[in-house]
């Protein structure tokens, strides 16, 4: 399985966010997407997740299940944790496990792994931001999907939580998974590819534009 992107461009609210983004990511590899605020890290992950359409370029998957889209083989861990406050911790995870068609009997095990086993029956309204993030990380563990799209996954986690997340990512990669993570810090994984979006700004500058053929591409798609 390999995720390929060639010359991806993104346009949000009439503003060109980035253009000329290309990468290849094979099984067992991680890609750290970096860049300043507003560089389009989240937008790139949302394009790969299929939530927004790219303004240009191509995105495709080699291998994997041809019946399924990239989004249907991916976990998306965004800024929002998709936790319902009126359901208990276990009910929240149980729902996502069942909704994604996985075995819901592993819920308690998964909660132990992310460090929430003791408070499984607590309504999720009482969770802290870090605990909510742990709960949504539990979703990645309970349901097997090969591609992980992580948007600043460690932002609210404490040191122990970060260590656990790094372990989870390592074992996911070791099991043949792929990880694309938007991050400001280091991912803590060896052999991570890095994709900086800072140089991908589609300004109409001639000469030193590192975005390669991005100008022509953007020009072609601008209405």
């Amino acid at each position: 399985m390999r995720v390929n992107a060639v010359d991806l461009a993104c346009r949000r609210g009439g503003r060109d966010v980035f253009a000329g983004v290309s990468f290849q990511l094979a099984r067992g590899e991680a890609l750290a997407v970096t860049g300043r605020n507003g560089a389009g890290k989240s937008s790139l992950l949302r394009i790969i997740g299929g939530f927004i359409r790219p303004a240009g370029g191509r995105l495709w998957l080699d291998g994997g299940d041809p019946e399924l889209s990239i989004a249907e083989q991916a976990h998306y861990l965004g800024h929002q944790d998709a936790v319902k406050p009126s359901l208990s911790v276990a009910e929240n995870l149980h729902f996502w496990t069942a909704f994604f068609g996985a075995d819901a009997r592993k819920v308690q095990d998964t909660l132990e792994r992310v460090g929430l086993g003791a408070i499984a029956a607590l309504p999720a309204a009482y969770l802290s931001a870090g605990q909510r993030r742990r709960l949504s990380i539990g979703r990645l563990l309970a349901v097997k999907r090969p591609i992980w799209l992580l948007d600043e996954p460690s932002s609210t986690l404490d040191a122990a939580g970060r260590d656990r997340l790094t372990d989870f990512m390592k074992s996911h990669l070791a099991g043949g998974g792929l990880i694309l993570a938007a991050t400001h810090g280091a991912l803590g994984l060896s052999g991570t590819q890095e994709l900086s979006l800072d140089q991908k700004i589609p300004l109409p500058v001639s000469g030193d534009n590192l975005g390669g053929g991005s100008e022509a591409k953007v020009g072609a798609v601008t209405p």
């Binding site: 989004a71 998306y76 998709a82 009126s86 729902f95 069942a98 909704f99």
Partner: protein, 222 residues
């Protein structure tokens, strides 16, 4: 548990717990219908004549109350994104959410209708017909409403827009629902004709609603 039954159970759990909104609808329905005889006075013949219309109007407004949160709460907490990455077709997901909404808001209201109908001088034999019209007609209100809910999902105060979009579309349901209920309560017009049209409206909305709502949601998410 299949993905869709998991979603159904989750939505019903959320609706019946604190702040869920299932009780709001039926309480609103009971309060509006209860106030009517006080406003109109003890004219039993008049109450009987307008009773079905009052019940239907109250049911229509009550079913709109919690509708604006149907997709908006999932959108705000990121659940909607994840639902889109699921393998269940979005149309069926929407139908499951609509069913959960109908079971938690419309069914309590249908159960309360015979009791509350007594206040409008609707007697037990006629109540059966009235309840039947509500049972058949309220799914149409829900499944027309989910289209509006899907259109208004990204708006902060989508409730008002939702009412403006949805209420005109419910006019046929209201006309034939009240016509059938009137026939059951007061006669002498036949019950069968408007009731059959009401069934047809419900069946059509069950099919069209999820597809229209799915198209609107896909646009909204971008």
């Amino acid at each position: 548990m299949t993905p869709l039954s998991a979603l159904l159970v989750r939505d019903m759990r959320i609706a019946i717990r604190v702040g869920g909104g299932a009780l709001i609808g039926v309480l609103f329905f009971v309060v509006v219908v209860t106030l009517t005889p006080f406003a109109i006075g003890p004219d039993l013949a008049l109450l009987k004549r307008i009773g079905p219309a009052i019940l239907w109007l109250a049911a229509l407004l009550a079913s709109l109350l919690a509708l604006d949160r149907l997709f908006a709460s999932d959108h705000e907490d990121g659940s909607l994104d994840l639902i889109l990455t699921g393998r269940a077709p979005l149309e069926l997901v929407i139908a499951a959410k609509g069913l959960a909404h109908w079971l938690t808001t419309a069914v309590p209201l249908i159960v309360a209708a015979p009791l509350i109908g007594l206040l409008l001088n609707i007697e037990p034999p006629a109540q059966a017909g009235l309840v039947l019209t509500l049972l058949v007609g309220t799914p149409a209100l829900t499944f027309i409403g989910i289209v509006g809910a899907a259109i208004a999902v990204t708006l902060r105060r989508g409730g008002l827009l939702l009412a403006i979009i949805v209420l005109p579309l419910t006019v046929p349901v209201l006309i034939f629902g009240v016509a059938a209920a009137n026939a059951a309560v007061a006669g002498p017009a036949p019950f069968g004709t408007p009731f059959t049209v009401l069934c047809a409206l419900t069946l059509a909305s069950l099919v069209i609603g999820p597809f229209a709502a799915a198209a609107a949601l896909r646009l909204d998410i971008e």
